[in-house]
Amino acid sequence: MFSILNKQILGPNIKRLDISAPLIAQKARPGQFVMIAPFARSEAIPLSVVKVSPEKGIITLIVQEIGETTQQLGNMPLNEPLFSMAGPLGKSFRPEKLGQVVCVATGIGAAQILPIAQSLKDAGNKVLGVLGAKTRRELFLEPQVRPACHQLFVGTEDGTYQQKATASILVKKILGKEDIRLVYAVGSLDMMSEICQMTKEKQIPMLVQLDFPISCPTGVCASCRIKVGGRWVLGCEEGPEFDGHQMDFDDLQKRRDAWEEFRTQHQPQEAMSLSKMFLEAWKK
């Protein structure tokens, strides 16, 4: 049975969970994810595995409490059995000794870049980390990413913390100075497409991790379909890691915006519960 052994609050609404899962801990590699459902009535959500200790049989996840299921997960008491956890799923990242590499992340993408940077460092590369955020409040996991890199550059768009620059500007500076062999990016599509442009010019290999909705992790429902290099692939089968140079980010962004608009337009109206009505009335 899976249960949460330890919880640590890392920031506003961000928690680190250590979960006992011996079988998953033996197999999980950096870049893979698990599907986790805290209760029988909750939806299973994908979360990337941040750290594995096979000898203890523990996997570490970092969760940002933004939705219903993530809140349920964050509020689970210790040692309470979780309803289900399936994994490890997705393609794993295979680190090689390359030389100098850059790991870029924005927002909560920092949780996904953490195992990648660590494995690259363990493989003997010099890892230059870049974290970007809008403001200081939206900069997550900086103390956790720092030890996984040899050098960490942090930029905020409004200059409230460290350098006043976006992640892509910081990467541009690094690419101008250093001899980089690989760039790995996780985060917003804008940032990834900008960096892909730069690396394409300099012919530097580039890997990106994309996020897509996953319902079943078994390649049956096709809700994770995504267009890569002009052909449809199933994200849960062939992702979440893709070659950045093959991606058509404009197309992806356009499609994502259209879906976003469609969802907001046709989102089912939630029936108002009695307590909610009471709250609304009380506010007035």
């Binding site: 079988l23 197999k27 459902a37 029988a40 009535r41 909750s42 939806e43 299973a44 309803f83 289900s84 956890m85 399936a86 994994g87 490890p88 799923l89 319902s215 079943c216 992790p217 078994t218 390649g219 049956v220 429902c221 096709a222 809700s223 379909r225 267009k227 449809w232 199933l234 089968e237 356009k254 499609r255 915006d257 259209a258 879906w259 608009e261 469609f262 969802r263 337009q265 046709h266 989102q267 089912p268 939630e270 029936a271």
Partner: protein
């Protein structure tokens, strides 16, 4: 006298809930219906059933009032009468002698009556020869469950591996609750557990374990019953638009969200007008789910109206729910609006014609008959599907015509001791065929293990 209709929820009430529509036959109606069966000396319904149930036999017991014995008669051949009595396509009724008069015996409803009201044999009664051999079944859909029931009856220790969190496969994630209540499914699975079948959930063949790992654990044979893969992507222009769902995606998403009250918390966004493409149960289920969201649903398919591949009773239920059907219509493309979302579907009428005057009549597009149906959501629910991603994980498997190849005699795949059954071999088909295939392959595994 026509086939009696089971008691159903009122058509307006049922659009406001996801509970079971049909409540089954009343006792008196059931006995009358059973008396209507002519008990042919050479029954045509029995060969019509892929499972080979002794249909006249159980109907005779039913009309004598022996419901429990009738159920046991069915259970000799079919291990899941409660499921089959609800969701089977009932090919037996098509081959009934009274079908020509338009009044076939309601065999499906009678089977359901026996399953609901009869008492099953307890696991203790079953005479079992204990055997030491263990069999692994991958996938807990219809084929996997049927094989598990059959093999455990033969005395094997069966373990079923399921990739999702809950057992049932397509029965749980692909059949809506108003057709098959989860309580019924859970009962059938509970019954298997009492017979000694073990279930291992969250176990994905390929990612978490391999075929050789299963053999290492001491299993003597493996049955692959993993079903079909993802729908075929990119077959109609405009599939990438916002508002296009695949049928499997729609049904899986609403069932995987596991909401208590689907009316209140529906997990997907649907426009006011929905077009569903397809002519099987998948399409009809999607249409009926959408109808419960107060949308205007049209079901578009290229075949003739009477070729809709569903049971007459389900069709009647569907029509009552206000679903507009558009037969003989081929979809050419999905039209987008400026924002990249669906705004309609461009279709063309189809009709039978003899284009080369050689007596070969076929469906062709009627010239100048193109028209546009307004829609904000399109559900692509044709049964066509890709080959399962299994060959990524097991490259040794021989694939033929995008399906797993099996020996027609022994049902063994190209790997020694590995068998395959159900949709993974035949492509997406009827539920009862999958059950029959699981049952048949279980017998083959029995033979193989006896000879070993």
């Amino acid at each position: 006298m026509l086939q009696p209709r089971p008691t159903v929820q009122h058509k307006e009430k049922r659009l406001k809930n996801f509970e079971e529509v049909s409540q089954g036959l009343a006792k008196r109606v059931c006995f009358e219906e059973a008396k209507r069966c002519p008990q042919c000396s050479d029954p045509t319904c029995k060969p019509g059933c892929p499972l080979g149930i002794d249909i006249p036999g159980f109907i005779r017991l039913l009309r004598e009032g022996e419901t429990t014995q009738a159920l046991q008669k069915i259970q000799e051949e079919n291990d899941f009468p409660a499921i089959c009595g609800r969701v089977c396509l009932a090919p037996c009724e098509k081959s009934c002698v009274l079908e020509k008069e338009g009044a076939a015996i309601g065999i499906r409803a009678l089977e359901r009556f026996a399953a609901d009201h009869g008492k099953t044999r307890s696991a203790m009664d079953e005479h079992r020869r204990p055997r030491l051999q263990r069999v692994a079944i991958v996938g807990s859909g219809p084929a996997g469950l049927a094989a598990a029931a059959r093999l455990s009856r033969r005395g094997y220790a069966v373990t079923v591996f399921e990739a999702s969190a809950l057992v049932g496969g397509i029965l749980r994630y692909g059949v809506p609750e108003f057709r098959l209540p989860r309580q019924v499914l859970d009962q059938e699975i509970e019954g298997l557990k009492t017979k000694g079948v073990q279930f291992q959930t969250n176990a994905h063949l390929g990612r978490m374990f391999s075929i050789s790992k299963i053999f290492e654990q001491g299993f003597a044979a493996i049955l692959l019953a993993v079903g079909t893969g993802a729908p075929r992507l990119g077959s109609i222009p405009g599939e990438e638009l916002a508002g296009v769902y695949y049928g499997r995606e729609l049904l899986m998403k609403i069932h995987l969200a596991r909401q208590k009250n689907l009316m209140k918390n529906f997990p997907m966004a649907l426009g006011a007008q929905v077009v569903v493409l397809g002519d099987g149960y998948l399409a009809v289920d999607c249409a009926r789910v959408c109808a419960r969201r107060q949308t205007q649903v049209s079901l578009v398919f290229s075949r003739a109206e009477e070729e809709l591949k569903i049971h007459a009773q389900d069709r009647e239920d569907m029509m009552e729910e206000g679903i507009q059907i558009m037969p003989s219509t081929q979809v050419l493309e999905i039209i987008s609006n400026s924002a990249g979302a669906v705004s309609g579907v461009r279709c063309v009428r189809m009709d039978f014609a003899d284009p080369f005057s050689d007596g070969n009549w076929q469906l062709v597009a009627v010239p100048d008959s193109e028209f546009i149906i307004d829609a904000q959501t399109v559900v692509l629910a044709s049964a066509e599907s890709q080959v399962t991603p299994l060959q990524h994980w097991i490259p040794e498997l021989r694939i033929q015509n995008e399906r797993i190849w099996i020996d027609s005699q022994t049902a063994m795949t190209s790997m020694q001791g590995v068998f395959a059954a159900g949709d993974v071999v035949t492509g997406a088909g009827r539920l009862v065929d999958a059950l029959a295939s699981g049952k048949r392959v279980a017998e083959n595994i029995d033979e193989y293990l006896k000879a070993k």
